[in-house]
Symmetry: C2
Amino acid sequence: MAKKHELIKGSIDSLLLCVIVQQPMYGYQIIKELERRSQGYFKFKEGTLYPALHRLDKAGLIRGEWQTLPNGRQRRYYYITEKGLNILAAKRGQWLDFLTAMNLIIQPASE
Amino acid sequence: MAKKHELIKGSIDSLLLCVIVQQPMYGYQIIKELERRSQGYFKFKEGTLYPALHRLDKAGLIRGEWQTLPNGRQRRYYYITEKGLNILAAKRGQWLDFLTAMNLIIQPASE
DNA sequence: CTATTGTGCATAGTGACACTAGGTGTCATG
DNA sequence: CATGACACCTAGTGTCACTATGCACAATAG
């Protein structure tokens, strides 16, 4: 039960690219940003986010760079790549297609 | 590659309930109906559909009944149950919530 | 001074689930 | 007689989000 979020599968990549494309971000910040912008709907845990970031990094869609803060701490900022931009555009299109198809089926028969 | 359909995960149950609620259907027909109504977007294979139907049946959301055609062939028609109706309503709500959240993130920053 | 909470990164294990690939059998068409 | 449509089914596989856990440091609370 309580598996309301099965829909999310397959959308995380797009979500991550969407926030990183606006400005480079580090993991923890991404979680907060997604929660903020979705008005609390998306609350990813680290165990979900970091593997996803690594996957995108490995795929060449984003690039992670360690940065040292003035206090000596380390953060890993992720930047979107050219390839990532292309994929993001494609994913936006896929999302629209999917959305359209879903709405054709799921909307209550309104006749 | 060619995994454009990762988004579909978690939506199949809703799709099946959506078509069965309008009229009882059998598996093969459901595939065709979903393809027709989505204008070709959803093309489920039997290996995807039948396990999903069995799952919904087991969960009590639909009920399958064998019917014998005049020519002696057998079809299994699925009917939605009371429980299925409730779940369908809930799933429609979840879909709207998800849709809203996704759009908040994914739409191009249009300011 | 210690405990908790927040920040920040990471991995291992699990379970759900759609997909591929295959199997059975009938019927109509070429 | 072979192909494709019809109609059902299952086993195996891979992906992926989630839970749980760990490390490390800072700030605040008690």
